[in-house]
Symmetry: C2
Subunit: 174 residues, 2 copies
DNA sequence: CCGTGACAGTTGAAGGTTCAAGCAACTTCT
DNA sequence: AGAAGTTGCTTGAACCTTCAACTGTCACGG
């Protein structure tokens, strides 16, 4: 029941590609779940929120404009706004206006937020190590780095305006 | 924040690991977004729902017990229940009871669901190709397969029942 | 100075995911 | 048979993400 028939089909995934695609799909689905579960049981926040806090903590002033923060964490402005609102309500982040440009808001990591981060970081890195790096040797890590850098580069590009994706004549291997 | 306290901290990520971890995190975050956006604009469903339909379409009878379907798509029973309910409401899946075990429900892909799938499959595979395989040569694909298979194997294991949670710094509440 | 447009961030509603309960049907043990 | 436990799936509430619309601010040009 594979859709191989259409004349408009750009070339189906071959066996090798499929053998890479299915596990990748699984990793992409299960890895955030694993990270979320651990963090949520330890701190009550998902790993997306943790990433916000961690990114702030890495800044010299523990503060960042919303836009920059959104860019660094690869999230949408809307999502970040909601996230920072939730984190602010829990006292881990505070907002401060920018003196020179009143459109800009800075998100600042509070001492409480920093303490929280310090508390959960060990467990978090242990989990990352368990699910990712414990199974890999140095060469694997190097290959993973190259591959993921390539993919994240493509994913960072704009989402392709519209329909002009499907023009690929090249057929090589079935 | 550089934690190196041997006893509680398992060992921080070194430079090589960090250089692999950050792009991996990004891929894990952006890849589902890219797939979701494309599918949602074409069919009004996210890629999780598409995966349900696709898995059903690959079965001999285009049907599967909920439990099996949950296992194959690596989703929780609850999530699948909600998903199938939504897909059923749109007429792409129907539920049928099992004659021999009345606890079991079969999810069946309808003709409409199959037609939808046939319609979106070309665009979907084109997107997968664009964001993943267009940037990789045959060796890269082989490496990706090995790496992702390893990781998905670890992730498939039980979420660590109790094991090493010992260090609970407990900052929660607040 | 005022209008236009771009930019930074927020808001609310709709939909998806998760968690903890819960119900019903099967199994096992006595 | 009947009680107790297990399995298979569903439900509802809380939360998170997304999308489109919106507010307020700045920059530019007449």
């Amino acid at each position: 029941m594979t859709a191989q028939d259409g004349a408009t089909t750009p070339r189906w995934l071959d066996e090798q590609e499929m053998a890479a695609w299915l596990p990748l799909l699984r990793v992409v689905q299960l890895l955030p779940q694993a990270l979320d579960r651990r963090l949520r049981s330890e701190a009550g926040i998902g790993h997306a929120y943790d990433q916000v806090l961690a990114t702030l903590s890495a800044q010299p002033e523990r503060a960042l404009a919303m836009g920059e923060l959104a860019r660094l964490t690869a999230t949408s402005p809307s999502r970040l706004s909601h996230a920072v609102a939730a984190l602010e309500e829990r006292g881990w982040v505070s907002r401060r206006p920018c003196p020179t440009d009143r459109r800009i808001q800075y998100a600042c990591l509070t001492d409480g937020g920093f303490a929280l981060l310090a508390g959960i970081a060990p467990g978090h890195v242990a989990e990352v190590r368990r699910v990712v790096f414990d199974g890999l040797d140095a060469e694997d890590v190097a290959r993973l780095r190259v591959l993921m850098t390539t993919l994240s580069g493509v994913l960072a590009e704009p989402p392709v305006p519209s329909a002009q994706v499907a023009r690929e004549g090249h057929v090589r291997g079935a």
